[in-house]
């Protein structure tokens, strides 16, 4: 797809409209803080999402460091158990809902309109609303830490009845915070879908869409289908806590396990919500730096769709030990194993893209390659978890913690960093410092493996998760993990420094930025002007 610079001639009825109404369309950014508060511009909103996500990543990361600090040695030295549980819980919640999801929405905001040749997101005011709900929701959630009885301490999966009858009073605020996040995600997802389906440049056929756009389209469907279910289940919790219902209490005829079914019906698609856009980013980056077209474009699209479909029928693999009937257990085991097939197709396609390419290894590519390897390792341990009889030994141990950090940290987080490095020159108009980027990569890569690889061992050896203190045989590996966590954590300072410098220092980037880059966004000047594609570009 090499879009020509000539654009479709448009009959400008807008001038008349401007005269008639005083509405003006060609404004640049407004001055001062109101630019951010009132904005309707997809790039502004994208930036706000990304900054917010970074703030949450730091918050959640510091909580993880507190957890690692306590686990550095056996015995209780820093945190009391009740506070430890709050840290684990908040870490999970903040990373999932505050760091990863908003970062992807931020990238979607920035890139989707530029990639499909749209003037903006389809519903710009709604877009801003989706964003601004988040800081309020998370402030409320963080405030619970200072309330009597402390904040959420029941794990990010908040199983009833620990999260209902036995929860601290602040759980009510937690529930409302989840409602708000849900509203935000649903509105955001509607916006993405409508933008992609309705705002493409006229010749941008569906099967020409960049893969980042495709994966986001499918992610948005997942969001719309599962966020309301999460809202439903927290509403039932609220009813059980305050209005005497008994959804999750056997004494009234309900079942605590019902909670888990509904939660994971949301929760499993949720983990794919955190990885599909990552697949998209990686599928953009690898071809660019291999200087070769993506291998198997259409099978990538089908694989993504199959993953999304399968994600709805595997939820109970989180509940193998909960005492399901045998038939259920078998069904969920088989369905879960199947997911390895489309995911494998993706991995093979990436490898085939690199094969016989002409590769260079700038920072985004380094992160992308690490993604392919480390995500696959996480996927392999996922597949092991899917073997139900073996899961009896893995479940709720650090083996699971190792699994999901491998898919989430060098998976989702690395892909986000890769994406930021990749598009940063387009956003700011400047190149970032490549040397420092590489240093950041290597430190992160080493740190991450030191942190999470030993968790496989302690998990298999029998260390349960969510415990503030452990038996002596787990001591060595925990100490190693903790050291790794601090290496990884502090090396993120380089990232922040690099991004800030890139925004401030002048180091003019070209239009194309990367030699092998392809797609509409690279036809725009760097930095991309405040308004782009007010008339659709021509695509061929």
């Amino acid at each position: 797809m090499t879009p020509s610079t000539e654009q479709i001639v448009s009959k400008d009825i807008e001038d008349q409209a401007v005269q008639a109404t005083g509405f003006e369309d060609h404004h640049g950014p407004a001055k001062g803080f109101s630019r951010w508060l009132y904005t309707t511009n997809h790039k502004d909103i994208g930036s706000m999402y990304l900054w917010f996500s970074l703030a949450m990543f730091m918050t959640g990361g510091c909580m993880a460091l507190l957890v690692r600090l306590e686990l550095f040695q056996p015995g209780l030295q820093f945190l009391e158990p009740e506070f430890f549980n709050q840290m684990t819980t908040m870490h999970g919640l903040i990373m999932v809902f505050g760091a990863v999801m908003p970062a992807f929405v931020g990238l979607a905001n920035w890139m989707i309109p530029m990639m499909i040749g749209a003037p903006d997101m389809a519903l710009p005011r709604l877009n801003n609303w989706s964003f601004w709900i988040l800081p309020f929701a998370f402030s409320m959630m963080l405030m619970t830490l200072f309330m009597d009885g402390g904040g959420p301490n029941f794990g990010w999966t908040f199983y009833a009845p620990l999260s209902t009858t036995f929860a601290p009073p602040s759980v009510t605020f937690f529930i409302f915070a989840v409602h708000m996040m849900g509203i935000s995600s649903i509105m955001g997802a509607i916006n993405v879908i409508v933008t992609i389906l309705n705002m493409r440049a006229p010749d941008m056929k569906m099967m020409k869409l960049p893969l980042f756009v495709w994966t986001w389209l499918i992610t948005a469907f997942l969001l719309i289908l599962v966020m309301p279910v999460l809202a439903g289940v927290v509403t039932m919790m609220l009813m059980d806590i305050h209005f005497g219902t008994s959804f999750f209490s056997a004494a009234g005829g309900g079942d605590p396990v019902l909670f888990q079914h509904i939660f994971w019906f949301f929760g499993h698609p949720e983990v794919y919500i955190m990885i599909l856009p990552a697949f998209g980013i990686i599928s953009e980056i690898i071809p660019t730096f291999s200087r070769k077209k993506l291998f198997g474009y259409s099978s990538m699209v089908y694989a993504t769709s199959s993953i999304a479909f399968l994600s709805f029928i595997v939820w109970a693999h989180h509940m193998f030990t909960v005492g399901m009937p045998l038939a259920g257990e078998l069904f969920f085991m088989f369905a879960t194993m199947l997911i390895a097939v489309p995911t494998g197709v993706k991995v093979f396609n990436w490898v085939a893209t690199m094969f016989r390419g002409s590769m260079t290894f700038e920072t985004p590519m380094l992160f992308a390659i690490a993604f392919v390897v480390l995500f696959s390792i996480g996927g392999f341990s996922g597949l092991m978890l899917a073997i139900a009889p073996a899961d009896y030994q893995y479940h709720d141990t650090y083996f699971v913690v190792a699994h999901f950090h491998y898919v989430l940290v060098p998976g989702s987080i690395f892909s986000i960093m890769a994406g930021v490095y990749y598009w940063l020159p387009k956003w700011t108009g400047n190149y970032y410092d490549e040397q420092m980027g590489k240093l950041h990569f290597w430190l992160s890569f080493i740190g991450i493996n030191i942190t999470f690889f030993p968790m496989h061992f302690v998990g298999l050896a029998g260390m349960p998760r969510r415990i503030p203190d452990y038996a002596l045989q787990f001591a060595d590996f925990n100490a190693i993990s903790s050291v790794g966590a601090f290496i990884f954590g502090f090396s993120q300072l380089l990232f922040i420094y690099n991004v800030v410098c890139c925004i401030r220092k002048r180091n003019q980037a070209s239009k194309q930025v990367w030699e092998g880059a392809n797609g509409l966004e690279w036809t725009l000047p760097s930095p991309a002007p405040y308004h782009t594609f007010t008339t659709p570009p021509k695509v061929d």
Binding site: L37, W132, I183, I193, P228, T245, A251, P325
Partner: protein
């Protein structure tokens, strides 16, 4: 090929979103404070809740009137119209999933949980803990009646619920007739049919209130009467809430019709409300079958 492109309208800066977020925050924090109230928390909560509701109403009203005004000024292209359609469509899908969660809970409880507790099926050993508990639906005696006292009687589906079904189905028909009339530009008829729809909606709500009142005072059927009461009220309650919102929206478009808005060709505001109403209607049919009859 060169086509004429009507510019996509990107609104300029707007304070609605940020104020809307503040409103939601006040609403949430206020309700939270009331529910967990200790000491002065409840007063503060009430105040916040009040402020939140007012702000939210203000934002909804001004937001929608801005959209209507922009539409009147001809700022919206056909493409914009499609955006709204897709948007509304997907919003309704998300609502469907919201109800799906509650229906799912109902099926799980009826098909699995209650039989298990009563000693049937794969996890029937659980009966050891609840001797004497029997599987029945509606659940008149809960496993532990000292904690959750079951209802004494249940709602008879063939009285008020049947009536309500007829009311809502009819209202869907009248709304479709109103839409037809609007398309044929018979504005008189549009308002008449629309007004009738509103009346039907309000009547439905009136009967719903009566039914709840009876449930609490005469049937002993409450939120706290075990899982039958829980599922009954959460499903009918959220449905009722949606009917209320739907009715309010119908009133809004009725006013707009009376003010001469909506053309025979372009009347997305009208259609959006109609879709919503039909959705609420379909949910009711599901409720009638699974909550009341079966």
């Amino acid at each position: 090929m060169q086509t004429e492109y009507q510019k996509y309208y990107v609104p300029k800066q707007s304070y609605f979103p940020i104020v809307g977020s503040v409103a939601l925050f006040c609403l949430a924090f206020g309700s939270g404070s009331i529910l967990t109230a200790t000491g002065g928390g409840a007063d503060l909560g009430m105040m916040l809740l009040f402020v939140g509701v007012l702000l939210l109403l203000f934002i909804i009203i001004s937001w929608f009137s801005t959209v209507a005004a922009e539409s009147r000024q001809g700022l919206y292209s056909l493409q914009m119209d499609r955006s709204f359609r897709w948007g509304m469509g997907w919003f309704i899908s998300s609502e469907v999933m919201f109800f799906a969660a509650f229906f799912g809970a109902l099926f799980y409880i009826r098909v699995l949980a209650v039989p298990w507790l009563a000693g049937e099926g794969d996890k029937g050993v659980s009966h050891m803990l609840w001797e004497g508990f029997v599987n029945q639906w509606p659940l008149m005696t809960t496993p532990d009646p000292s904690l959750f006292k079951g209802p004494e009687k249940i709602v008879d589906p063939w009285h008020i619920p049947l009536l309500n079904t007829i009311l809502l189905v009819t209202s869907s028909v009248t709304l479709t007739l109103a839409h037809r009339a609007l398309k044929l530009n018979h504005r008189q008829w549009t308002s008449i049919w629309l007004a009738l729809t509103v009346v039907l909606g309000i009547t439905f709500l009136y009967f719903q209130v009566i039914e709840y009142h009876e449930a609490y005072t005469e049937l002993g059927l409450t939120l706290a009467s075990g899982v039958y009461g829980s599922t009954f009220f959460i499903l009918t309650g959220f449905h009722g809430l949606h009917v209320t919102i739907g009715t309010l929206m119908l009133v809004c478009i009725l006013v707009r019709v009376l003010e001469g808005e909506f053309s025979a060709e372009q009347h997305f505001g009208f259609e959006a409300v109609a879709w919503y109403w039909h959705f609420v209607d379909v949910v009711w049919v599901g409720l009638f079958i699974f909550v009341y009859i079966l």
